[in-house]
Symmetry: C2
Subunit: 236 residues, 2 copies
DNA sequence: GCTAGTTATAGTCATTTTGACTAGAACTGA
DNA sequence: TCAGTTCTAGTCAAAATGACTATAACTAGC
């Protein structure tokens, strides 16, 4: 492609390369307490730079797909996961994110349900980590995860995102566990329940979850609409 | 650069071109009521596609500047403005945003103070429009402005952004006028003032604004820190 | 210098929301 | 049948909110 012969002024206006990455969140039971906690799948870098370090799943943007499609495809290819929620996080374009070349990364964040997460490919080069124990990641990926975590907590408090961690039917206690895991606090069951019951998007069903060793909780269903960011706006 | 001879498979993986645009908001007195309203500067397209239509100020990303720097420079070059607030809005990357080629636009939104806005270059090809009366813009820029407006209203309700429309010193009534203009509602002066006075980031000064034909209002100062998105996080 | 007009500012009061807590209901397992 | 557990409804005080009243402090016009 003769890029090697491009002169300085041509290189100065050449567009930086464009990549897509995704921060994927799922809830899995903690080994210690058994209570749900936040986990993130990472892939191991098999080439320089940062060869051997763990990084967010990602790849180039191809010419024939939208940004969200690219994120979705990449997520499926690298981890085998199908997200229940996918939203753009931020475009990272600092000058020195990669030592070798200028890269602009458009980063998405995704939520997957525990059933999905359990099926996920896990191998030598794909592994799940607790979100609060990631170690040093490649590139600026620690900062990206921090920001994604901040956004997740924010959106959660806002209201409409917790249900994407869960299946179609759920108990109010399960919703509370999502909040407790993500925000890392304990919430009063009675007050939390009162709040949820006052939101119209949560619909009571006639069914109950059987099998626990206590009073069977009622199952609910979420009826709210997805979201309001541009990717999800004008879909049928 | 031999791009002309690139074959189909090479073109399929070639990265889309990358551009930066900015939605700029300022408050200006409405001609009709005299009360402040939201205005946006647009530039006229001088080439195809959409030649002659109005569009958001924007341009290519050069190799040696960060995304935010590019937005800042571009905003200065096209409109002569220096923003008091600048934040990334969204990366738009739909397949058919431009009829001629695939373009990914990383869009910023900015607030400028009225003193700045008054100095702004206005010419045949740069003009201010009321945010609610833009007409048909080039590309998907109407949708982008809609989303920027939604974000502005959201951030305003959140709390820390109204002051960037104002100078260093301001009266509580001026803050209320910002809210009224952006949210397009009337707010009760007494209740609004009670809320502001309960937020610690707003500091009472000993000075008063003279010159009105009524009781002189006290001047306040905003002492809150900028924001928490990645661009603004680790700055000194 | 008095008065009307205007906005600034403090305060009241009923309603709603929130946080801490109590207690009974409904299940399981021993 | 009882102990253990969670589910669920409810109480009560504190805090926040919305509608409103009243006074303070200035200017403009007479």
């Amino acid at each position: 492609m003769y890029m090697g012969s491009a002169n300085v002024s041509e290189r100065a206006v050449a567009a930086p390369s464009l990549a897509i990455s995704t921060v994927i969140f799922a809830l899995r039971p903690s080994e210690s307490s058994g209570r749900p906690t936040l986990w993130i799948p990472l892939v191991r870098r098999i080439r320089e730079p940062f060869k051997g370090l763990w990084a967010l799943p990602g790849g180039p943007l191809t010419h024939s797909e939208s940004l969200q499609d690219a994120a979705s495809r990449n997520l499926r290819e690298t981890t085998g996961l199908a997200p229940s929620y996918l939203e753009q996080l931020y475009a990272f374009g600092g000058l020195h994110r990669s030592p070798s070349q200028r890269v602009v990364s458009i980063v998405y964040w995704a939520l997957v349900q525990p059933t999905e997460a359990a099926l996920a490919d896990e191998s030598e080069n794909v592994k799940w980590f607790r979100a609060d124990r990631l170690g040093d990641l490649a590139f600026d990926h620690n900062a990206i995860v921090d920001y994604a975590l901040w956004r997740l907590r924010n959106k959660l408090a806002y209201g409409s995102v917790a249900y994407h961690f869960l299946g179609e039917y759920f108990t109010l206690a399960q919703v509370r566990e999502v909040y407790e895991a993500v925000l890392d606090t304990r919430l009063d069951p009675a007050n939390f329940r009162r709040q949820l019951k006052s939101t119209p998007e949560i619909e009571e069903t006639g069914e109950y979850l059987q099998g626990g060793k206590h009073r069977p909780p009622r199952l609910y269903r979420y009826t709210g609409r997805p979201g309001l960011d541009p990717d999800n706006r004008s879909k049928p």
